[in-house]
């Protein structure tokens, strides 16, 4: 349990940091140049780390199914949706909906075991927990009239 949680916390911290860096690039270069740069950097870093850790095995892609080749386009869908959402709703409400739908979908994926992942049984407590987190996000984001940073290029 704990190692998995630590991994998720590490990922979340890096996402937070990356969103700030990305928004700095975005201010100057626009969202598509930024997206291309960010994904290009991510690819180069994955290749480098993978090569250091696994050597040539990084290039052996066994059991590739056709849809694996296009799954990266989901990230492009994310950018399109976030840019349009923020444009229409403003950053505060757009990000609120984004975070909420991330959590609700996570619960759905676990409960249904979609895409061949292990099924994690749905319980009422899970729903309650997710609702409490969503409530916390709402209080955090709307309470106290803070200003919100426009962060369009958000990452998985």
């Amino acid at each position: 349990m704990i190692p998995g949680l630590l991994m998720a916390i590490a990922a979340g911290s890096l996402v937070g940091l990356q969103n700030i860096f990305n928004s700095k690039v975005n201010e100057r270069a626009g969202s598509w140049a930024t997206t291309a740069l960010v994904l290009g950097m991510g690819f180069a870093a994955s290749l480098t780390i993978g090569f250091i850790l696994e050597g040539k095995r990084i290039f052996t892609l066994q059991n590739m199914q056709p849809w694996y080749w296009i799954s990266g386009m989901i990230g492009v869908g994310v950018v399109i949706c976030l840019v349009q959402g923020v444009k229409r709703l403003g950053p505060t409400y757009a990000i609120l909906i984004v975070l909420t739908s991330q959590l609700v979908l996570a619960l759905l994926f676990d409960s249904l075991g979609l895409l061949g992942l292990d099924k994690v049984p749905f319980t009422f407590n899970k729903l309650l927990g997710v609702l409490a987190i969503v409530g916390g996000v709402i209080v955090f984001k709307i309470g106290g009239g803070r200003k919100f940073q426009k962060s369009v290029v958000q990452r998985k």
């Binding site: 998720a8 690819f43 850790l53 909906i97 106290g144």
Partner: protein, 141 residues
């Protein structure tokens, strides 16, 4: 309404991307999955950029180099996200990830690091973080 739909699908795609990466990693390995999905995403974004031309590559020169390499975090993000999903499931992973993300952003806002506009700590933000952590505790039972 359309804005809400876009935002909803934006969030849905973020979760879907994590789950898809977790699935792909079962077949080809985690670093390989991180490499492939970011590569195809990169190519797609590049092609869109050539069509829409909403920005200029040249503008990158005006951005601090530190901010330009933020994308490299993507490797570790995908790796950690996928590993966490395998170990503790999607719900826990996304919950912990979002809380860590909001908390770090909060700390950066309070201190005004990286040139962001400094924000004051207020009660609602602490209440919000408390509720989110309580939510993760409830998930466990």
């Amino acid at each position: 309404m359309r804005g809400s739909l876009f935002a909803f699908f934006g969030g849905a795609f973020i979760t879907l991307q994590g789950v898809a990466n977790a699935r792909i990693s079962q077949d080809i390995g985690t670093w390989q999955a991180a490499m492939i999905t970011q590569f195809t995403g990169f190519i797609t974004a590049l092609m869109i950029l050539l069509f829409v031309r909403d920005g200029e590559w040249q503008q990158f020169k005006q951005v601090k180099p530190l901010y330009l390499i933020g994308g490299a975090f993507g490797a570790v993000i995908v790796f950690s996200n996928v590993t966490a999903i395998h170990q503790i499931g999607v719900t826990y992973t996304i919950s912990a990830l979002l809380i860590a993300q909001l908390c770090l952003t909060f700390v950066i806002d309070i201190n005004g690091w990286f040139g962001v506009v400094k924000q004051k700590m207020r009660l609602p933000q602490f209440v919000g973080i408390g509720m989110m952590i309580a939510g993760v505790m409830i998930l466990r039972f």
